[in-house]
């Protein structure tokens, strides 16, 4: 078996993985990135809206600063984030945006003079100062006090990822694309790389590394309806779960996006609402102002998603063969605006729906969108439990987002965390000597080889892997979705346990030779079920509502009992995760309080009740 040795192994070549790689390569270390797809096809490329940084250059961002960004982020997280991390993040974000500009990202810039914008369907005028002309500008996004979201038209993730991969090419960092990590190599205390499967040939390879980074992005594909890419199926989280040591932080913290198009769940950007798009119901009437008088469509996305679901449940959704939905209306923004500033949205409507958003309403409904949860790390990005293992980006629970991520904060997280964690990885690598045990590596690879051969030869059964996956996706969608309650969650856990058993009996129908796609899914389906069980079980035990975690049977945020983070680990042979808890933050610069939007009944730390 091929054995490849390197200083740093980045599992994942999206924005976060590549940013860490750039930092380590710039410091002279040898880096190899693995990716399921060619790096520029990573899901970072799909982010349209933009990234937050408090540059405060545009007039609507006047007076913005890291402190204001900090407060928005902590409130957005519903006090579920680590405030030290949030502080570090907001202070580094402006530098990170400028660094990306320096490397080539064509950020939109301030244009001096008057221009119009829409908010909540009304037109307003703003005037940009001439002394700011040419600086990086920003747009409005849900849940922020200032216009803070830097952007390049509707392709921010695309331009950022191309800029980053350009840097990777310039530095000569190796990217082994179409290579999927399937297990970490470790001895119980130290991680020394990963076993990976080549998706061109089907062969297994061993990567030995002094430091290993999990930067595999989100895992939305465990849900049926998600805005995530096909490849975002949780194989990164599974790497951690299968160690039995490294915990997943807050698995129950899953975000839904208000505007996935029906039926394909392709996301239309929050920028639509930021720029003044409105949501309409079956009677073509706006309904958000009735639930959120101040912020209306611009309230944070968990709030908007919930009211949409609520409104649909009231019977005010639009009937369709794919289920009920609502309308997104951007017609009043005008041809010019839609064809330039919202071009990708315009294209999506034409290509995937066959409609023209200048004239037609867009069918939308909430879909799974973001995983705040992930591999739990400390503020340096070092994973709990194993030395030499790091994580960054959406794959990590660094914990910037707590129970709700603000739009624009995750692209920012990828480059900010990439920078900070990259520096820490470099510090770690300096003077770190470890000896690689080939016997441990070979044993890890052999274990995978044997598993694969059992699956290919149907040694454990003939369960159809696609049927198992669909059952899991339905279960999560129906019972572990936007609104949650004890009864449904309990049923979901029971059902997922049964599906988990089926997952262990999966056998191939095809021959499994070469880059076989059925085998690729069959290898990870067991881990995906474990991940799904972490999500459902943690959601069941968290008897409060916080951010995106909305319990119908526990509507209040309960700071007295639940100002803590879930840590889920998996013992081999078990059929439920072990859940542990830790305080959400060491420091509280911003003490828990009201968000100013959303439902706000709170049981405070001292047991007092606010907003009853």
């Amino acid at each position: 078996m091929e054995i490849i040795v390197t200083d740093l192994l980045c599992i994942g070549a999206g924005l976060a993985g590549e940013r860490v790689a750039v930092e380590a390569a710039s410091a002279g270390f040898e880096v190899i990135c693995l990716s399921i797809v060619p790096p520029r096809r990573s899901h970072s490329s799909a982010a349209q809206g933009g990234m937050q940084a408090s540059l405060g250059s545009c007039c609507m961002g006047e007076g913005d600063c890291p402190q204001v960004h900090f407060e928005d982020t902590v409130k957005g997280s519903d006090w579920g984030c680590d405030q030290e991390v949030a502080r570090l993040f907001v202070e580094t974000a402006p530098v990170a945006v400028r660094e990306m500009a320096f490397w080539g990202t064509p950020w939109n810039r301030v244009v001096a003079g008057p221009s119009t914008y829409y908010k909540g369907g009304k037109q307003f005028e703003k005037v940009e100062a001439s002394e700011r002309e040419g600086l990086i500008t920003a747009r409005d996004f849900g849940g922020t006090a200032k216009w803070r979201t830097c952007y390049t038209s509707d392709g921010t993730g695309h331009t950022l990822l191309y800029t980053m991969d350009n840097k990777v090419v310039e530095l000569g960092v190796k990217v082994h694309d179409r290579t999927e990590a399937i297990a970490l190599i470790h001895d119980g205390t130290t991680c020394t790389g990963a076993v990976a499967r080549c998706l061109k040939t089907g062969d297994l390879r061993i990567y030995l590394a002094k430091a290993t980074l999990i930067a595999t992005g989100g895992f939305g594909k465990i849900y049926r309806e998600t805005t995530n890419a096909v490849i975002n199926d949780g194989s990164g989280a599974v790497l951690a779960i299968d160690t039995g040591i490294v915990p997943i932080g807050n698995p129950e913290a899953i975000q839904f996006h208000p505007t996935g198009i029906v039926p394909t769940n392709i996301l239309v950007t929050e920028g639509c609402r930021g720029d003044g798009g409105t949501l309409l119901d079956v009677n073509k009437e706006r309904f958000m102002p009735q639930y959120e008088p101040k912020k209306a469509e611009l309230a944070s996305r968990d709030v908007v998603s919930r009211w949409m679901t609520h409104h649909i449940r009231k019977g005010l959704g639009v009937k369709s063969p794919y289920g009920d939905h609502l309308w997104l209306d951007i017609r009043h923004l005008g041809v010019q605006h839609i064809r330039t500033k919202l071009r990708e949205v315009d294209e999506i409507c034409h290509n995937f729906l066959g409609i023209d958003p200048v004239k037609d309403l867009i069918p939308v409904r909430p879909a799974q969108h973001y995983t705040m949860s992930g591999v739990r790390t400390n503020k340096d990005g070092a994973a709990y439990g194993l030395k030499g293992l790091f994580s960054a980006g959406e794959a990590a629970c660094w914990d910037l987002h707590g129970f709700n991520r603000l739009g624009g904060n995750s692209l920012a997280e990828t480059v900010v965390a990439g920078k900070i964690v990259g520096e820490k990885v470099v510090e770690f690598l300096h003077g770190y000597e470890t000896s690689f045990s080939t016997s441990i590596a070979l044993a890890a690879a052999k274990l995978q080889q044997e598993r694969i051969s059992r699956i290919v030869n149907c040694k454990d059964g003939k369960e159809n892997v696609f049927a198992v996956r669909n059952a899991m996706q339905d279960e999560l969608m129906e019972r572990v979705g936007i609104f949650r309650n004890g009864k449904d969650l309990g049923a979901a856990v029971d059902n997922l346990q049964k599906i988990h058993e089926r997952a262990q009996r999966v056998g191939l129908r095809s021959n499994g030779v070469g880059a076989n796609p059925e085998l690729a899914l069959a290898i990870k389906i067991r881990g995906m079920l474990r991940l799904a069980l972490c999500v459902a079980y943690a959601a069941l035990l968290r008897t409060e509502s916080r951010g995106c975690h909305a319990r119908e049977d526990y509507e209040e945020r309960n700071d007295r009992d639940w100002l803590k983070r879930t840590l889920a680990t998996w013992n081999e042979g078990s059929d439920l995760p072990v859940l542990d808890y830790e305080p959400v933050s060491k420091i509280f610069d911003l003490p828990p309080g009201e968000r100013g939007y959303g439902v706000c009944k709170i049981i405070s730390c001292d047991g007092g009740v606010i907003g009853a």
Binding site: V37, H43, P106, R109, S153, V175, K200, V230, F352, L508
Partner: protein, 248 residues
Amino acid sequence: MGRKLTFEIFRYNPKDPKSVPHTDGFQLEETDSMTLFIALARIREEQDPSLQFDFCCRAGICGSCAMVINGRPGLACKTLTRELPERIILMPLPVFKLIGDLSVDTGTWFRAMNEKVGSWIHTDKAFDPAAQEERMENAVAEEIYELERCVECGCCVAACGTANMREDFVGAVALNRIARFMLDPRDSRTEKEYFDVIGTDEGIFGCMGLLACEDVCPKNLPLQDQLGILRRKMGWTALKNLFSFKRT
């Protein structure tokens, strides 16, 4: 009842000694808003789980899913079946190395292309974290973005007569990339330096100007304009080089 669609799909698994290149037929009933992504996923799940093809974003953004659809390169995820006849013939992209069935290795090709054209900002300056960003006119940023929209899908390369004939031809995508950097005030390369990269038969002078590339580009990049501008500029640079050579 939707139409009965017949898919004729190229099959070959180079890793399987028993496999020979051939075509397999599959039948599906068409449903509303069916794209080739939906159709192929269904064929894999319901009929042949070994079928290889590539999708990632399924939203026309990442460039993963280019294939030859009834003779024409395009992105499968943004092709609605209702725009196609009942008989749909799918082939892998030519030029790129075949991985299996409809899946080809674009990653290796594009990495080499990016290395060859030096697809990054060339500058002697160092980033100063304490400084404000350098200013740029918004119009310039938007012009750069216009060209930066390329998703490296490979359709233009697959459709290009020159690229199909000579392996070393850089393709319209590379020429577009060069044009993107020439527009960028942050890049310090001179025309002569760009000329060294693409002022050859592997570059702009290999292009026959038939514009199959622009025709098939799913992002509607203005490839024709870029090729024209480059040809004129490179023509000039070639002349100037000749001239300065004579004088020394």
